[in-house]
């Protein structure tokens, strides 16, 4: 029974990983940019939510009303002001600049919030659960997290394939030059994509902060989980990132069941196994 429980909990935590991954996947899809600072931005969103909750007394989930727009606005400005200047010059400039961003964010958070761990308190939501079967309890929080991941990915999917903004995302991703011929200003489209990515980051950051303690140096680990989910699921496939997140979550859950020290390691091993057998991921988009 503990094994089934490990798998079920792994599936649910996979939703959180899918949210880490979705924003990463979105901007890679639109502008081929890999944001090394993605994980640190998630943690920054956690701190922002913490600050908002402490200043206003809002429930952590309600704080998203403030946190998500702020994060999106920051993403828009970051892309227009900095990241757009790194595109089209090879892989090093975006990599280095987002690496620098990562170091700045980590140390900035350390400076403002110190190295003490913090947590957001979501009240009864955190402790409530129901029994799926004897020995398998489903917590309301993990369930809500998974459901949110489904909604986020479905919304991104809808936006990408059924709205005019999504059409422009796909167009600049296909062919920047011809997109410009249509009157599309690619810099603004990229900025919109980054804003959207950071809105998802905000949601992920709030759930991260409710679920566990966080500190300024947690970012790189979250980046890696998101990255693994993207690669396992297959590049450019949003539902694939959910599958990737779930597989990662299950691998970690099963690993932890074998030996608590193997939790994260088991996820990495699953990632390298997929890479060895299916280098393009399990569900690559056919192109």
């Amino acid at each position: 029974m503990t094994w089934i429980n490990a798998v079920v909990q792994g599936v649910l935590i996979g939703g959180l990983y899918a949210m880490f991954a979705a924003g990463l996947s979105l901007i890679f899809g639109v502008m081929r940019l890999v944001n090394i600072g993605h994980g640190d931005l998630i943690v920054a969103a956690s701190y922002l939510a913490w600050a908002v909750v402490h200043a206003t007394g809002l429930h952590p989930l309600t704080s998203l009303v403030i946190v998500a727009p702020l994060a999106a606005a920051f993403g828009y400005a970051l892309q227009l002001g900095v990241l757009n200047h790194t595109l089209g010059k090879g892989i090093l400039p975006p990599l280095l600049v987002t690496f620098g961003l990562s170091v700045i964010l980590q140390n900035g958070m350390l400076l403002i919030f110190t190295a003490d761990t913090r947590k957001l308190d979501a009240g009864a939501l955190e402790t409530g659960s129901f029994a799926l079967s004897p020995g398998v309890d489903i917590g309301y929080l993990p369930l809500l997290m998974f459901a949110t991941a489904l909604v986020v990915i479905a919304a991104l999917q809808f936006l990408f394939y059924s709205t005019s903004l999504g059409r422009e995302f796909r167009a600049v991703s296909d062919d920047r030059e011809v997109a410009a011929l249509m009157g599309i200003d690619d810099r603004r489209v990229y900025a919109s994509a980054m804003a959207l990515s950071l809105a998802v980051v905000a949601v992920a950051g709030v759930f991260l902060a409710i679920r566990s303690n966080f500190d300024p140096f947690m970012g790189p680990g979250r980046l890696i989980f998101g990255f693994e989910a993207v690669i396992i699921g297959g590049l450019g496939n949003l539902w694939g990132t959910l599958a990737g997140g779930v597989i990662l979550g299950v691998a970690q859950g099963v690993g932890a069941e074998i030996n608590p020290g193997w939790q994260v390691l088991a996820g990495h091993i699953a990632f390298f196994l997929v890479l060895a057998v299916r280098p393009r991921g399990l569900f690559p988009r056919i192109s």
């Binding site: 059409r167 991703s173 030059e177 997109a179 410009a180 011929l181 249509m182």
Partner: protein, 234 residues
Amino acid sequence: MVEPLLRVEALRASYGDARALHGVSLELRAGETLALIGANGAGKSTLLKAICGLVGQNEGRILFKGEDIARRPASRIVRLGVALAPEGRRMFPSLSVEENLILGGKARRPGPWSLESVYALFPVLKERRRQPAPAMSGGQQQMCAIGRALMSNPELLLLDELSLGLAPTIIKDIYELLPRIAAGGVATILVEQDVTRALATAERFVCLQEGHVSLEGDPAEHSRDDITRAYFGT
């Protein structure tokens, strides 16, 4: 004397360190059809790209309706009324046929062209509107590329390598539709490697050779040999 729709003055254009145009000048009146001919590498595509803002470094002037657009970004130039159907069609592969067309209308200029009128011109596009663009044949993609350019209701339409890689019957079909497009008053620059066909369609031609204008005028007033010489440089 009326100001021409387009006036290119001593245009030099470069890609990186390589210069492709060495001082090209030409004029185009509203509603006119101009054939731009020349061998491979003569600079025809570069000239079209320079006019619509896709070449990084332009020296000289490109006056469109009296306004210098030589250093404007492409996304602004289309709003002024210049549209290009690029060489190789360049459909957006992850968009459907209809989405390609809708994007062509993003500049939102007023005029006769809309989804309905483009579908009326190319009925086959309407049949395939839900399909992804790469699923179409080369000829259908070319129609879609023309339609996409028309959707912005341009005053100047640039058609690059219209018949490249297309079967002869398709080429014939497309050429038969060109007068219907010109009837709306849009001026056209036509780049075409089928020189005979281009000269038969256009009112005037400009021949480029190695980035210079080697000959221009009314197709009827120049002998075939003159044109061949201007074309190959022999």
